[in-house]
């Protein structure tokens, strides 16, 4: 078959185009293939692995109730273990100190002072008790939270008559509304960063 002159040129051009595309493709696939290094592990920075609530008797520093929740994989999606050491003395007044740590990092990261308190206007601690005669107030020196409320970091607790029950602490991130008029606090919207209940808390 007689090939037209024009066709021959087109063939040459297309052969060249084809080779170029092939080369380009191989080059780009090699550059992605050259990534033979293993990926680096990610240690999550926003983890909270340890929550500790230390209640210290304001008149008797030796009288301490320690509640801790430990989750090595993070409170978020890992199993946590709650422990309570000590019991409340009826009638006593306790100052609560909160500790929030990320112990998956070395040295351990202080999440409370490093992340939460600097963004106090986007966080809010909510407390609740069930069956326990415990009341609380948010100190005047407590850090300011969203909408003129108190964050709930510096609090004072008063133990009433003998009883036992549950104590819950929740941390809400970016709540829509907050209300601390009942001291324990309530919030709507936002998302819970953690929701931990200690059961078997004793006042006796």
């Amino acid at each position: 078959m007689k090939i037209n002159y024009l066709n021959l040129n087109a063939m040459k051009t297309t052969k060249f185009l084809f080779k170029t595309m092939l080369c380009l493709a191989l080059v780009s696939s090699f550059t992605s293939c050259s990534d033979d290094d293993d990926p680096a592990p990610v240690n999550e920075e926003e983890l909270i692995t340890n929550l500790t609530l230390t209640f210290t008797n304001t008149t008797n520093p030796g009288d301490v109730v320690l509640m801790s929740s430990v989750a090595p994989d993070g409170l978020e999606d890992g199993l946590s273990t709650e422990t309570i050491i000590g019991s409340f003395t009826p009638g006593a007044s306790y100052a609560l100190t909160i500790g929030l740590l990320n112990e998956s990092e070395s040295p351990a990261e202080d999440v409370l002072n490093g992340d939460i308190i600097p963004e106090a206007d986007e966080h809010f601690f909510v407390y609740a008790v069930n069956g326990l005669n415990l009341t609380m107030t948010r100190d005047a020196s407590d850090i300011d939270g969203p909408d003129g409320s108190k964050l709930g970091v510096n609090t004072t607790w008063i133990a009433g008559a003998s009883s036992f029950g549950n104590l819950q602490i929740r941390l809400i991130h970016e709540p829509s509304t907050v209300d601390d008029s009942d001291e324990f606090g309530s919030a709507t919207g936002g998302s819970e960063d953690f929701n931990i209940t200690f059961s078997g808390v004793v006042i006796n």
Binding site: T14, F18, D38, V42, L75, E76, Q168, S191, E192, S199
Partner: protein, 798 residues
Amino acid sequence: MKNIFLILFILITSFGSSQQCNSVLTGKISDFHDNTTLENATIQIIGTNKITISDEQGNFEFKNLCKQTYKIEVSHIACKTKVVNIEVDGNTYKLISLEHHLEELSEVTVKAKEQTTTKTAQETLIKTDVLERYSSLSLGDALKEVPGVSSINTGNTIVKPMINGLHSSRILIMNNGVRQQDQEWGIEHAPNIDINNAGQISVIKGSGALAYGGDAVGGVVIINPSRTINIDTLYGKTILGGQTNGRGYNITTTLNKNYSSGWFAQVQASYKRNGDFKAPDYYLTNTGLDSKGFAGRFGKRNFESGFEVYYSYLDNEIGILGASHIGSVFDIERAINSGQPLLIRDFSYDINAPKQEITHHLAKANYYKRFQGFGKVSVQYDYQYNQRLEFDVRIGDRRNIPAIDLTLQTHSFLADVDLDSNLDRKVKFGILGRYQNNFANPDTGVRRLIPDYDKYDFGAYITTEWKLKDNLILDGGLRYDYVHIDAKKFYLKSRWEERNYDQDFADIIIEEFPTQYLTNPVFNFHNISASAGVRIDLNDENRLLFNYSLASRPPNPSELFSDGLHHSAARIELGDIRFDKEVSNRLSLSHSYNTDRLRVLSEVFYNRINNFIYLRPFDFILTGRGPFPIWEYQQTDAELYGIDLTVIYDISDKIQFSNKSSLTKGYDVETDMALIDMPPFSTINQIRYTNSNWNNFSASLKSEWVFEQNEFPDFNFEVEDQLTEEMVLIDISTPPAAFNLIHFYSEATFDLSDKTKLNIGLGINNIFDQSYRNYLNRLRFFADDLGRNFTLQLQLNY
């Protein structure tokens, strides 16, 4: 007397022309396609009055030609006229072939026939004029024009098409000849395609189109740009739109330049922006969208050969309803019980976290050449780059760092051969080679949702189409795919033991860290797919289609590797590296009845999917955020079946009634439970008035009635509120009530000049501002769907 002059004239002219004008040119005219000879072709030597006709064998002859180059024009009825230069020197023989069978080659549409891709599959074509109405919306919205196609949404800007109940990795999307690779395994990942790029869309239910892939268990969506025409022309269109709900505006412009030589070029750009949408009673805070797109292509398209170079770019920033950002199961319970979103602010165009930012680049180059008596060979290379960033609500300096940063790159090589020399026995075969790399950026500070992996795909297929009689067509196909996945995945030691991987997969650990293992799972899948079908035209009005298809789908990265908290769903999702591929056997039967006034199309299907993979809750974990349900991917056997109906009736030549209804059922065969997220029964009725004398004015009223899904799996669970020690019911299963929405649309086209047309379209969606929630909207726990929306669209064609 006349004769003497004639003789003298002939003598003079014969002396006048070259001294050696006794060359003879003979030749044969044949059909390029199948080499048959063409009788009665007209051959004329341009510039002379020498003209002749080819005989039964296609032969022709010219005598007394001079030794020079002549320009010969060959024409034949229903063929494209061809002009060739022939150098005549003594006795010269020339073979000339013409392009016959124009109407078969889809280059020029002679009649208004449907140019479908398949012959026996359930395929519906959505044409340009319908697509233009969806300019301000998304691909998933436009596809719902087809009964049986619904969508699974996350809000109303993330719309994932669902064909007969199946979505995500079970739907294959072809975008201008390139298989879309954009992390479609995610339930919140909508296809990254600019609807304004589409000239026409084919929706195929089931995997009938084996040339594109063998894993389309649900269906195939083929998006093609508008056709090029081989004439010198410059034309374009601009669409400008606005809508009240979301205070949205959008603009898109396309410009086309075509040449008669076959060269063509097209550029297209779009921009779309909206702020917070509004449900009847409140704003849906943080549902804004910012979308930019650009596409360009150029090439040469002739009958014998052609090439195309195409590039497209799409950038989307999508806000996700602020109130859907939850931390725990109790947040969901509070959301469900409150009846309205717990975060409502005034209208704003701001897009904050939670949000998605996706960039998609697509480039392709292809070339084809037709060989006489053989067929068409085409080769293609395409490259895609998809980067997905998902921003969660984070604190501190991590605020602007995405929680998910995935980059997916895909290279594909395709070669296809179309043997269409015998139009009654067409054969098509081809091969595919693909390399894909996924990179999960660890700089997010969040454990990778999907690990780094390399994936290699090799495929080969053959399809054939037999026209046994004018009214009987058979088609069939076979395809083999080999998939190799090589991943590097980190597992927390606690999860590794919980999944019992320590027993079965200890040999894939390659490195150990304090709390994690780095593993290297490698998978190989061999997939066979096939299809066979028949199309029978019983008479002028009735046509039957029957099709069987076998499709195999390897598990996707989410099904294999999910291992952790899915924040936006407040649940832990676990994949399994032990999964097998899904195998689907699908039977479909369609009947169409067409007369002047009435068209009825009924499509029935039955799809049995073995090793069907889906997510369901099975346990709890008590974490520091309270109890989290653990959802685990299961592999089971499932069956789906349903019927889709379309009725179009011309009540008069101005009034048309249409109905589109769809019923789909799906069950887990092993547990006898309904499958989750099955579309409820829906029926859409429309009355349309058209008057071609009034500038093609038309007005239509549409009633969209979606029933309540009464068959759903009960995945409700109770969790203990540890404080009160009470059980709390988390009802995530109960579907919302049925709803009926009324929509109005009207348009008219004005001729501004003989080349420019202006089309104005006015629409009112949800005229009565009805509150409703859609079962297939994952945000239905938090807020109602859209309220009333006025839309105005101006389209200029020039």
